[in-house]
Protein backbone atom coordinates (compact mmCIF):
# COMPACT_ATOMS: atom_id res chain seq x y z
CA UNK A 1 0.00 0.00 0.00
CA UNK A 2 2.81 2.39 0.93
CA UNK A 3 4.63 1.43 -2.26
CA UNK A 4 1.45 2.07 -4.20
CA UNK A 5 1.24 5.62 -2.86
CA UNK A 6 4.96 6.36 -3.12
CA UNK A 7 5.69 4.93 -6.53
CA UNK A 8 2.37 4.98 -8.36
CA UNK A 9 -0.28 7.26 -6.93
CA UNK A 10 1.75 10.44 -6.29
CA UNK A 11 3.76 10.19 -9.54
CA UNK A 12 0.43 9.57 -11.33
CA UNK A 13 -1.04 12.76 -9.83
CA UNK A 14 2.12 14.63 -10.83
CA UNK A 15 2.05 13.50 -14.46
CA UNK A 16 -1.71 14.02 -14.39
CA UNK A 17 -1.08 17.62 -13.31
CA UNK A 18 1.19 18.15 -16.31
CA UNK A 19 -1.49 16.73 -18.62
CA UNK A 20 -4.14 18.82 -16.87
CA UNK A 21 -2.27 22.09 -17.36
CA UNK A 22 -1.66 21.33 -21.02
CA UNK A 23 -5.17 20.04 -21.67
CA UNK A 24 -6.79 23.22 -20.30
CA UNK A 25 -5.11 25.24 -23.04
CA UNK A 26 -6.04 22.73 -25.74
CA UNK A 27 -9.64 22.69 -24.53
CA UNK A 28 -9.93 26.50 -24.32
CA UNK A 29 -8.33 27.04 -27.72
CA UNK A 30 -10.70 24.48 -29.20
CA UNK A 31 -13.68 26.07 -27.49
CA UNK A 32 -12.89 29.65 -28.47
CA UNK A 33 -10.82 29.45 -31.67
CA UNK A 34 -12.40 26.19 -32.78
CA UNK A 35 -9.35 24.25 -33.81
CA UNK A 36 -7.16 21.47 -32.47
CA UNK A 37 -3.89 23.20 -31.62
CA UNK A 38 -1.20 20.70 -32.52
CA UNK A 39 1.60 23.07 -31.53
CA UNK A 40 0.47 23.08 -27.90
CA UNK A 41 2.97 20.43 -26.83
CA UNK A 42 5.78 22.40 -28.44
CA UNK A 43 4.54 25.55 -26.74
CA UNK A 44 5.20 23.66 -23.48
CA UNK A 45 8.72 22.94 -24.69
CA UNK A 46 9.23 26.63 -25.48
CA UNK A 47 8.26 27.43 -21.90
CA UNK A 48 10.71 24.86 -20.51
CA UNK A 49 13.55 26.26 -22.61
CA UNK A 50 12.64 29.78 -21.53
CA UNK A 51 13.36 28.74 -17.95
CA UNK A 52 16.57 26.95 -19.06
CA UNK A 53 17.74 30.15 -20.74
CA UNK A 54 17.01 32.20 -17.64
CA UNK A 55 18.80 29.59 -15.51
CA UNK A 56 21.98 30.09 -17.52
CA UNK A 57 22.05 33.74 -16.40
CA UNK A 58 20.32 33.69 -13.01
CA UNK A 59 21.29 30.83 -10.69
CA UNK A 60 18.01 30.39 -8.84
CA UNK A 61 15.76 27.34 -8.32
CA UNK A 62 14.10 26.69 -11.73
CA UNK A 63 10.55 27.09 -10.42
CA UNK A 64 11.31 30.66 -9.35
CA UNK A 65 12.34 31.37 -12.94
CA UNK A 66 8.98 30.12 -14.24
CA UNK A 67 7.88 33.70 -15.15
CA UNK A 68 10.64 33.77 -17.82
CA UNK A 69 9.35 30.56 -19.39
CA UNK A 70 5.79 31.86 -19.24
CA UNK A 71 6.80 35.17 -20.84
CA UNK A 72 8.58 33.38 -23.69
CA UNK A 73 5.62 31.04 -24.27
CA UNK A 74 3.11 33.93 -24.25
CA UNK A 75 5.24 35.93 -26.70
CA UNK A 76 5.60 32.88 -28.97
CA UNK A 77 1.85 32.11 -28.84
CA UNK A 78 0.76 35.68 -29.59
CA UNK A 79 3.29 35.96 -32.39
CA UNK A 80 2.28 32.74 -34.16
CA UNK A 81 -1.39 33.62 -33.72
CA UNK A 82 -0.81 36.97 -35.42
CA UNK A 83 1.29 35.57 -38.27
CA UNK A 84 0.02 32.04 -38.85
CA UNK A 85 -3.45 31.59 -37.35
CA UNK A 86 -5.27 34.92 -37.61
CA UNK A 87 -5.13 35.16 -41.42
CA UNK A 88 -6.72 31.69 -41.60
CA UNK A 89 -9.45 32.36 -39.01
CA UNK A 90 -12.34 32.60 -41.50
CA UNK A 91 -11.31 29.62 -43.63
CA UNK A 92 -12.35 26.01 -42.98
CA UNK A 93 -10.74 24.73 -39.76
CA UNK A 94 -8.43 22.28 -41.49
CA UNK A 95 -6.25 25.17 -42.77
CA UNK A 96 -5.40 26.41 -39.31
CA UNK A 97 -4.98 22.86 -37.96
CA UNK A 98 -2.37 22.11 -40.63
CA UNK A 99 -0.83 25.50 -39.93
CA UNK A 100 -0.49 24.54 -36.26
CA UNK A 101 1.38 21.38 -37.34
CA UNK A 102 3.79 23.66 -39.16
CA UNK A 103 4.13 25.89 -36.12
CA UNK A 104 4.88 22.81 -34.00
CA UNK A 105 7.77 21.97 -36.33
CA UNK A 106 8.99 25.57 -36.32
CA UNK A 107 9.06 25.68 -32.51
CA UNK A 108 10.90 22.37 -32.27
CA UNK A 109 13.42 23.21 -34.97
CA UNK A 110 14.18 26.63 -33.52
CA UNK A 111 14.84 25.10 -30.10
CA UNK A 112 17.11 22.50 -31.73
CA UNK A 113 18.91 25.22 -33.64
CA UNK A 114 19.64 27.23 -30.51
CA UNK A 115 20.16 24.52 -27.86
CA UNK A 116 20.90 21.41 -29.91
CA UNK A 117 18.94 18.20 -29.76
CA UNK A 118 20.54 16.62 -26.69
CA UNK A 119 18.92 16.45 -23.25
CA UNK A 120 19.31 19.53 -21.08
CA UNK A 121 19.29 19.13 -17.33
CA UNK A 122 17.83 21.92 -15.22
CA UNK A 123 19.59 21.06 -11.99
CA UNK A 124 22.23 18.39 -11.66
CA UNK A 125 22.41 16.17 -8.63
CA UNK A 126 19.71 14.27 -6.84
CA UNK A 127 17.10 16.07 -4.81
CA UNK A 128 16.33 14.07 -1.67
CA UNK A 129 12.69 13.03 -1.42
CA UNK A 130 10.31 14.36 1.17
CA UNK A 131 9.98 11.76 3.91
CA UNK A 132 6.77 11.83 5.88
CA UNK A 133 6.12 9.71 8.99
CA UNK A 134 9.12 7.58 8.02
CA UNK A 135 7.04 5.77 5.42
CA UNK A 136 6.01 8.13 2.64
CA UNK A 137 8.89 9.07 0.37
CA UNK A 138 7.62 11.59 -2.10
CA UNK A 139 9.50 13.61 -4.70
CA UNK A 140 9.45 17.31 -3.76
CA UNK A 141 8.90 18.20 -7.41
CA UNK A 142 5.79 16.02 -7.55
CA UNK A 143 4.39 17.74 -4.49
CA UNK A 144 5.15 21.13 -6.01
CA UNK A 145 3.47 20.15 -9.30
CA UNK A 146 0.35 18.86 -7.57
CA UNK A 147 -0.01 21.85 -5.24
CA UNK A 148 0.63 24.44 -7.95
CA UNK A 149 -1.86 22.72 -10.27
CA UNK A 150 -4.48 22.71 -7.53
CA UNK A 151 -3.91 26.43 -6.94
CA UNK A 152 -4.12 27.12 -10.67
CA UNK A 153 -7.39 25.14 -10.90
CA UNK A 154 -8.95 27.28 -8.16
CA UNK A 155 -7.71 30.54 -9.71
CA UNK A 156 -8.88 29.47 -13.17
CA UNK A 157 -12.32 28.60 -11.86
CA UNK A 158 -12.56 31.99 -10.16
CA UNK A 159 -11.30 33.75 -13.29
CA UNK A 160 -13.77 32.02 -15.63
CA UNK A 161 -16.82 32.39 -13.43
CA UNK A 162 -16.28 35.75 -11.75
CA UNK A 163 -14.25 38.07 -13.93
CA UNK A 164 -15.46 39.97 -16.93
CA UNK A 165 -12.75 38.56 -19.20
CA UNK A 166 -13.43 35.02 -18.01
CA UNK A 167 -17.15 35.33 -18.62
CA UNK A 168 -16.50 36.85 -22.04
CA UNK A 169 -14.30 33.86 -22.85
CA UNK A 170 -17.05 31.45 -21.85
CA UNK A 171 -19.54 33.47 -23.88
CA UNK A 172 -17.38 33.31 -27.02
CA UNK A 173 -16.85 29.58 -26.46
CA UNK A 174 -20.62 29.13 -26.14
CA UNK A 175 -21.61 31.11 -29.24
CA UNK A 176 -19.11 33.32 -31.03
CA UNK A 177 -21.74 34.97 -33.22
CA UNK A 178 -23.97 35.91 -30.30
CA UNK A 179 -20.89 37.20 -28.47
CA UNK A 180 -20.20 39.50 -31.43
CA UNK A 181 -23.85 40.60 -31.49
CA UNK A 182 -23.57 41.38 -27.77
CA UNK A 183 -20.73 43.73 -28.69
CA UNK A 184 -17.91 41.65 -27.16
CA UNK A 185 -14.53 42.19 -28.75
CA UNK A 186 -13.63 38.67 -29.89
CA UNK A 187 -10.00 39.54 -30.61
CA UNK A 188 -9.43 40.53 -26.97
CA UNK A 189 -10.94 37.21 -25.92
CA UNK A 190 -8.66 35.39 -28.37
CA UNK A 191 -5.63 37.20 -26.96
CA UNK A 192 -6.54 36.18 -23.40
CA UNK A 193 -7.04 32.59 -24.52
CA UNK A 194 -3.47 32.51 -25.79
CA UNK A 195 -2.11 34.22 -22.70
CA UNK A 196 -3.75 31.73 -20.33
CA UNK A 197 -3.10 28.72 -22.58
CA UNK A 198 0.58 29.63 -22.93
CA UNK A 199 0.98 30.33 -19.21
CA UNK A 200 -0.34 26.92 -18.25
CA UNK A 201 1.57 25.20 -21.08
CA UNK A 202 4.86 26.74 -19.95
CA UNK A 203 4.19 25.68 -16.35
CA UNK A 204 3.44 22.14 -17.50
CA UNK A 205 6.53 22.13 -19.72
CA UNK A 206 8.80 23.15 -16.85
CA UNK A 207 7.38 20.43 -14.58
CA UNK A 208 7.78 17.83 -17.32
CA UNK A 209 11.34 18.99 -18.00
CA UNK A 210 12.26 19.05 -14.31
CA UNK A 211 10.91 15.53 -13.83
CA UNK A 212 13.30 14.12 -16.41
CA UNK A 213 15.18 16.54 -18.64
CA UNK A 214 14.38 19.08 -21.31
CA UNK A 215 14.72 18.09 -24.96
CA UNK A 216 13.11 19.46 -28.13
CA UNK A 217 10.56 16.61 -28.27
CA UNK A 218 9.48 17.08 -24.65
CA UNK A 219 6.06 18.58 -25.32
CA UNK A 220 5.37 16.84 -28.60
CA UNK A 221 5.63 13.49 -26.81
CA UNK A 222 2.97 14.64 -24.32
CA UNK A 223 0.55 16.00 -26.93
CA UNK A 224 -1.63 12.92 -27.43
CA UNK A 225 -2.33 12.17 -23.76
CA UNK A 226 -3.20 15.86 -23.38
CA UNK A 227 -5.64 15.65 -26.27
CA UNK A 228 -7.10 12.53 -24.66
CA UNK A 229 -7.49 14.54 -21.43
CA UNK A 230 -9.17 17.44 -23.24
CA UNK A 231 -11.62 15.10 -24.97
CA UNK A 232 -12.26 13.20 -21.74
CA UNK A 233 -13.11 16.44 -19.95
CA UNK A 234 -15.33 17.63 -22.79
CA UNK A 235 -13.92 20.01 -25.39
CA UNK A 236 -14.37 23.65 -24.37
CA UNK A 237 -14.71 22.79 -20.66
CA UNK A 238 -11.49 23.93 -18.97
CA UNK A 239 -12.32 22.44 -15.58
CA UNK A 240 -13.27 19.20 -17.34
CA UNK A 241 -9.87 19.18 -19.03
CA UNK A 242 -8.24 19.54 -15.59
CA UNK A 243 -10.12 16.49 -14.35
CA UNK A 244 -9.42 14.69 -17.63
CA UNK A 245 -5.68 15.27 -17.22
CA UNK A 246 -5.67 13.78 -13.74
CA UNK A 247 -7.73 10.79 -14.86
CA UNK A 248 -5.45 10.09 -17.85
CA UNK A 249 -2.36 10.43 -15.63
CA UNK A 250 -3.82 8.05 -13.06
CA UNK A 251 -4.96 5.56 -15.70
CA UNK A 252 -1.54 5.51 -17.35
CA UNK A 253 0.50 5.10 -14.17
CA UNK A 254 -1.85 2.77 -12.34
CA UNK A 255 -2.09 0.46 -15.36
CA UNK A 256 1.42 -0.74 -14.56
CA UNK A 257 0.75 -1.47 -10.88
CA UNK A 258 0.74 -5.12 -9.87
CA UNK A 259 -3.00 -5.30 -9.32
CA UNK A 260 -3.13 -9.03 -10.00
CA UNK A 261 -0.25 -11.21 -8.90
CA UNK A 262 3.32 -9.87 -8.65
CA UNK A 263 3.98 -8.42 -12.07
CA UNK A 264 2.74 -5.19 -13.64
CA UNK A 265 -0.80 -5.35 -15.02
CA UNK A 266 0.42 -3.75 -18.23
CA UNK A 267 4.11 -3.37 -18.98
CA UNK A 268 5.15 0.25 -18.24
CA UNK A 269 6.43 0.58 -21.81
CA UNK A 270 2.82 0.37 -23.01
CA UNK A 271 1.42 2.92 -20.62
CA UNK A 272 1.03 5.66 -23.25
CA UNK A 273 -1.22 3.26 -25.12
CA UNK A 274 -3.63 3.45 -22.17
CA UNK A 275 -4.32 7.11 -22.96
CA UNK A 276 -5.00 6.27 -26.59
CA UNK A 277 -7.31 3.42 -25.72
CA UNK A 278 -9.30 5.76 -23.45
CA UNK A 279 -9.40 8.40 -26.20
CA UNK A 280 -10.61 5.99 -28.88
CA UNK A 281 -13.26 4.45 -26.62
CA UNK A 282 -14.48 7.93 -25.69
CA UNK A 283 -14.64 9.10 -29.28
CA UNK A 284 -16.77 6.09 -30.15
CA UNK A 285 -19.09 5.95 -27.14
CA UNK A 286 -19.06 9.38 -25.53
CA UNK A 287 -17.57 11.94 -27.91
CA UNK A 288 -18.88 14.84 -25.82
CA UNK A 289 -16.63 13.74 -22.94
CA UNK A 290 -17.51 13.33 -19.29
CA UNK A 291 -18.66 16.93 -18.85
CA UNK A 292 -20.78 17.36 -21.98
CA UNK A 293 -18.38 19.40 -24.07
CA UNK A 294 -18.61 20.28 -27.72
CA UNK A 295 -18.36 17.55 -30.33
CA UNK A 296 -15.09 17.43 -32.22
Amino acid sequence: MIDFINYYFIPALAIGSVYALGAVGISMIFGILRFAHFAHGDLMTVGAYGVLAALAVIPLPPLLLLPFGIALAIAAALLVDRIFYKPLRNLPTIYVVISSFGVALIFRSLLQLVWGSENQVFVSGVRPPLVLLDTFRISVLHVEAIILTAIIAVLLHYFLSRTRTGRSMRAVADDAELAAISGLDTETVVRWTWIIGATLAATAGVFAGLDTSAHPNLGWNLLLPMFAAAILGGIGKPMGAMAGGLIIGLAEELSSYNWIGDSALISPSYKTAVAFVIMVILLIFRPQGLFKGRLL
Partner: protein, 239 residues
Protein backbone atom coordinates in the same frame (compact mmCIF):
# COMPACT_ATOMS: atom_id res chain seq x y z
CA UNK B 1 -41.48 62.50 -36.77
CA UNK B 2 -37.82 62.69 -35.81
CA UNK B 3 -35.96 59.77 -37.35
CA UNK B 4 -33.73 57.93 -34.91
CA UNK B 5 -32.39 55.70 -37.66
CA UNK B 6 -32.34 56.52 -41.37
CA UNK B 7 -31.47 54.00 -44.02
CA UNK B 8 -30.91 55.23 -47.58
CA UNK B 9 -30.27 53.22 -50.75
CA UNK B 10 -28.99 50.28 -48.73
CA UNK B 11 -27.71 47.33 -50.75
CA UNK B 12 -26.11 44.48 -48.84
CA UNK B 13 -25.65 40.74 -48.69
CA UNK B 14 -23.15 38.00 -48.01
CA UNK B 15 -19.96 38.06 -50.05
CA UNK B 16 -20.65 40.07 -53.17
CA UNK B 17 -24.22 38.83 -53.67
CA UNK B 18 -26.85 41.41 -52.73
CA UNK B 19 -29.83 40.14 -50.74
CA UNK B 20 -31.40 43.53 -50.13
CA UNK B 21 -31.28 46.28 -52.74
CA UNK B 22 -31.78 50.01 -52.52
CA UNK B 23 -33.75 49.81 -49.27
CA UNK B 24 -34.83 53.04 -47.58
CA UNK B 25 -36.54 53.46 -44.23
CA UNK B 26 -36.87 55.86 -41.35
CA UNK B 27 -37.38 54.70 -37.79
CA UNK B 28 -39.19 57.19 -35.60
CA UNK B 29 -38.02 57.81 -32.06
CA UNK B 30 -40.01 55.93 -29.37
CA UNK B 31 -41.88 53.94 -32.03
CA UNK B 32 -42.27 50.28 -32.82
CA UNK B 33 -41.43 49.63 -36.46
CA UNK B 34 -42.14 46.23 -37.97
CA UNK B 35 -40.67 44.79 -41.13
CA UNK B 36 -42.84 42.14 -42.73
CA UNK B 37 -42.68 40.24 -45.97
CA UNK B 38 -42.56 36.76 -47.43
CA UNK B 39 -39.82 34.25 -46.62
CA UNK B 40 -36.53 35.13 -48.26
CA UNK B 41 -37.48 38.79 -48.69
CA UNK B 42 -34.31 39.84 -46.87
CA UNK B 43 -35.97 41.02 -43.65
CA UNK B 44 -33.39 39.46 -41.36
CA UNK B 45 -30.60 40.52 -43.70
CA UNK B 46 -31.79 44.12 -43.40
CA UNK B 47 -31.65 43.89 -39.61
CA UNK B 48 -28.23 42.23 -39.69
CA UNK B 49 -26.96 44.88 -42.09
CA UNK B 50 -28.00 47.67 -39.74
CA UNK B 51 -26.09 45.79 -37.04
CA UNK B 52 -22.96 45.40 -39.22
CA UNK B 53 -23.19 41.63 -39.64
CA UNK B 54 -23.28 41.54 -43.46
CA UNK B 55 -21.34 43.15 -46.29
CA UNK B 56 -22.65 46.57 -47.25
CA UNK B 57 -22.40 47.06 -51.00
CA UNK B 58 -23.95 50.52 -51.16
CA UNK B 59 -26.04 53.09 -49.33
CA UNK B 60 -25.90 54.69 -45.91
CA UNK B 61 -27.17 54.11 -42.39
CA UNK B 62 -27.45 57.02 -39.97
CA UNK B 63 -28.23 56.78 -36.26
CA UNK B 64 -29.21 59.97 -34.42
CA UNK B 65 -27.98 61.93 -37.42
CA UNK B 66 -24.57 60.28 -37.36
CA UNK B 67 -23.32 58.14 -40.24
CA UNK B 68 -22.71 54.65 -38.86
CA UNK B 69 -22.22 52.86 -42.20
CA UNK B 70 -19.27 50.49 -41.96
CA UNK B 71 -18.84 50.66 -38.17
CA UNK B 72 -18.19 47.34 -36.41
CA UNK B 73 -20.90 45.71 -34.27
CA UNK B 74 -18.77 46.18 -31.16
CA UNK B 75 -18.79 49.94 -31.74
CA UNK B 76 -22.55 50.08 -32.39
CA UNK B 77 -23.47 48.76 -28.94
CA UNK B 78 -21.76 51.67 -27.12
CA UNK B 79 -23.58 54.08 -29.45
CA UNK B 80 -26.91 52.81 -28.14
CA UNK B 81 -28.03 50.03 -30.48
CA UNK B 82 -28.66 46.47 -29.25
CA UNK B 83 -29.96 43.41 -31.04
CA UNK B 84 -31.24 39.92 -30.45
CA UNK B 85 -30.87 37.25 -33.13
CA UNK B 86 -33.68 34.94 -34.15
CA UNK B 87 -32.31 31.60 -33.02
CA UNK B 88 -29.38 30.81 -30.72
CA UNK B 89 -30.26 33.93 -28.78
CA UNK B 90 -28.76 33.02 -25.39
CA UNK B 91 -25.44 31.63 -24.14
CA UNK B 92 -26.68 28.18 -23.09
CA UNK B 93 -23.85 27.30 -20.69
CA UNK B 94 -23.91 30.66 -18.93
CA UNK B 95 -26.43 31.28 -16.18
CA UNK B 96 -29.31 33.68 -16.78
CA UNK B 97 -27.56 36.18 -14.52
CA UNK B 98 -24.34 35.87 -16.50
CA UNK B 99 -26.24 36.24 -19.77
CA UNK B 100 -27.65 39.53 -18.52
CA UNK B 101 -24.24 40.61 -17.31
CA UNK B 102 -22.66 40.03 -20.74
CA UNK B 103 -25.02 42.72 -22.04
CA UNK B 104 -23.22 45.36 -19.98
CA UNK B 105 -19.66 44.62 -21.13
CA UNK B 106 -19.62 46.55 -24.39
CA UNK B 107 -21.55 49.51 -22.98
CA UNK B 108 -21.74 49.60 -19.17
CA UNK B 109 -24.88 51.34 -17.89
CA UNK B 110 -24.34 54.07 -15.28
CA UNK B 111 -25.87 51.94 -12.52
CA UNK B 112 -25.73 48.23 -13.30
CA UNK B 113 -27.74 47.08 -10.28
CA UNK B 114 -30.53 49.53 -11.04
CA UNK B 115 -30.69 48.56 -14.72
CA UNK B 116 -30.78 44.90 -13.78
CA UNK B 117 -33.57 45.54 -11.32
CA UNK B 118 -35.58 47.38 -14.00
CA UNK B 119 -35.12 44.46 -16.38
CA UNK B 120 -36.16 41.92 -13.77
CA UNK B 121 -39.29 43.98 -13.15
CA UNK B 122 -39.99 43.79 -16.87
CA UNK B 123 -39.34 40.02 -16.97
CA UNK B 124 -40.30 38.77 -13.48
CA UNK B 125 -40.12 35.14 -14.70
CA UNK B 126 -36.34 35.43 -14.81
CA UNK B 127 -35.87 36.42 -11.19
CA UNK B 128 -36.05 32.86 -9.85
CA UNK B 129 -33.85 31.53 -12.64
CA UNK B 130 -30.82 33.81 -12.35
CA UNK B 131 -28.51 30.97 -11.31
CA UNK B 132 -29.83 28.47 -13.85
CA UNK B 133 -28.00 27.83 -17.16
CA UNK B 134 -29.90 29.67 -19.90
CA UNK B 135 -29.83 26.52 -22.04
CA UNK B 136 -32.31 24.87 -19.67
CA UNK B 137 -35.04 27.48 -20.21
CA UNK B 138 -38.07 27.27 -22.49
CA UNK B 139 -38.15 29.14 -25.80
CA UNK B 140 -40.21 31.99 -24.41
CA UNK B 141 -38.00 32.40 -21.37
CA UNK B 142 -34.91 32.38 -23.59
CA UNK B 143 -36.43 35.18 -25.63
CA UNK B 144 -36.83 37.14 -22.41
CA UNK B 145 -33.21 36.49 -21.46
CA UNK B 146 -32.15 37.59 -24.94
CA UNK B 147 -34.16 40.80 -24.74
CA UNK B 148 -32.97 41.38 -21.19
CA UNK B 149 -29.34 40.94 -22.26
CA UNK B 150 -29.85 43.44 -25.09
CA UNK B 151 -31.54 45.93 -22.75
CA UNK B 152 -28.77 45.77 -20.12
CA UNK B 153 -26.69 48.29 -22.09
CA UNK B 154 -29.64 50.71 -21.92
CA UNK B 155 -29.90 51.07 -25.70
CA UNK B 156 -32.00 53.69 -27.45
CA UNK B 157 -32.68 51.37 -30.38
CA UNK B 158 -33.50 47.69 -29.99
CA UNK B 159 -33.35 45.42 -33.06
CA UNK B 160 -35.37 42.20 -32.70
CA UNK B 161 -35.23 39.40 -35.24
CA UNK B 162 -38.51 37.47 -35.01
CA UNK B 163 -38.94 37.64 -31.24
CA UNK B 164 -41.96 35.32 -31.34
CA UNK B 165 -40.49 32.62 -33.63
CA UNK B 166 -41.43 29.18 -32.36
CA UNK B 167 -43.34 30.44 -29.31
CA UNK B 168 -46.73 29.23 -28.14
CA UNK B 169 -49.68 31.62 -28.71
CA UNK B 170 -49.76 32.41 -24.99
CA UNK B 171 -46.13 33.51 -25.00
CA UNK B 172 -46.63 35.38 -28.25
CA UNK B 173 -49.18 37.64 -26.53
CA UNK B 174 -46.84 38.18 -23.60
CA UNK B 175 -43.90 39.11 -25.81
CA UNK B 176 -46.03 41.62 -27.71
CA UNK B 177 -47.21 43.11 -24.41
CA UNK B 178 -43.60 43.34 -23.28
CA UNK B 179 -42.68 45.19 -26.46
CA UNK B 180 -45.28 47.81 -25.60
CA UNK B 181 -43.76 48.10 -22.11
CA UNK B 182 -40.29 48.48 -23.60
CA UNK B 183 -41.55 51.25 -25.89
CA UNK B 184 -43.16 52.93 -22.88
CA UNK B 185 -39.71 52.95 -21.27
CA UNK B 186 -38.59 55.17 -24.15
CA UNK B 187 -36.80 52.57 -26.25
CA UNK B 188 -37.31 52.50 -30.00
CA UNK B 189 -37.91 49.06 -31.49
CA UNK B 190 -37.23 47.79 -34.99
CA UNK B 191 -38.34 44.23 -35.46
CA UNK B 192 -38.78 41.59 -38.10
CA UNK B 193 -41.88 39.50 -37.54
CA UNK B 194 -43.57 36.51 -39.15
CA UNK B 195 -46.78 36.99 -37.17
CA UNK B 196 -47.43 40.02 -39.34
CA UNK B 197 -51.02 40.72 -38.40
CA UNK B 198 -50.45 40.79 -34.63
CA UNK B 199 -47.22 42.70 -35.05
CA UNK B 200 -48.86 45.41 -37.15
CA UNK B 201 -51.54 45.78 -34.50
CA UNK B 202 -49.00 46.96 -31.94
CA UNK B 203 -46.69 48.70 -34.43
CA UNK B 204 -46.57 52.41 -35.07
CA UNK B 205 -45.15 51.83 -38.54
CA UNK B 206 -44.64 48.91 -40.85
CA UNK B 207 -42.54 48.27 -43.91
CA UNK B 208 -43.19 45.48 -46.38
CA UNK B 209 -40.11 44.04 -48.03
CA UNK B 210 -40.38 41.86 -51.14
CA UNK B 211 -37.38 40.25 -52.87
CA UNK B 212 -35.04 42.55 -51.04
CA UNK B 213 -36.77 45.82 -51.99
CA UNK B 214 -39.24 48.21 -50.40
CA UNK B 215 -42.73 47.19 -51.42
CA UNK B 216 -45.02 49.21 -49.20
CA UNK B 217 -44.94 51.17 -45.98
CA UNK B 218 -47.30 52.98 -43.70
CA UNK B 219 -48.64 53.05 -40.19
CA UNK B 220 -49.61 49.68 -38.74
CA UNK B 221 -53.27 50.49 -39.25
CA UNK B 222 -52.74 51.62 -42.84
CA UNK B 223 -50.98 48.43 -43.79
CA UNK B 224 -53.61 46.32 -42.07
CA UNK B 225 -56.25 48.12 -44.12
CA UNK B 226 -54.34 47.95 -47.41
CA UNK B 227 -56.02 45.41 -49.68
CA UNK B 228 -52.87 44.62 -51.61
CA UNK B 229 -50.80 44.02 -48.49
CA UNK B 230 -53.60 42.10 -46.80
CA UNK B 231 -54.11 39.76 -49.72
CA UNK B 232 -50.43 39.06 -50.27
CA UNK B 233 -48.97 38.98 -46.77
CA UNK B 234 -51.65 38.84 -44.12
CA UNK B 235 -53.56 35.84 -45.35
CA UNK B 236 -56.42 37.91 -46.88
CA UNK B 237 -59.77 38.41 -45.17
CA UNK B 238 -61.05 41.31 -43.16
CA UNK B 239 -58.47 42.94 -40.85
Amino acid sequence: MTALLSVRGLTAGYGGVPIIEDVALDIGKHEITVIIGPNGAGKSTLLKTIFALTNILGGTIAFEGRDITGLKTSSLVPLGISATPQSRNVFPNLTVGENLDIGTYAAPPPDKTKTREKILELFPDLRSKLKQPAGELSGGQRQMVAMGRALMSEPRLLLLDEPTAGLSPAYLERIFDLLLDIRKAGITILMVEQNAKQALQIADRGHVLVTGRNFASGTGAELLADDNVRRSFLGGGVP
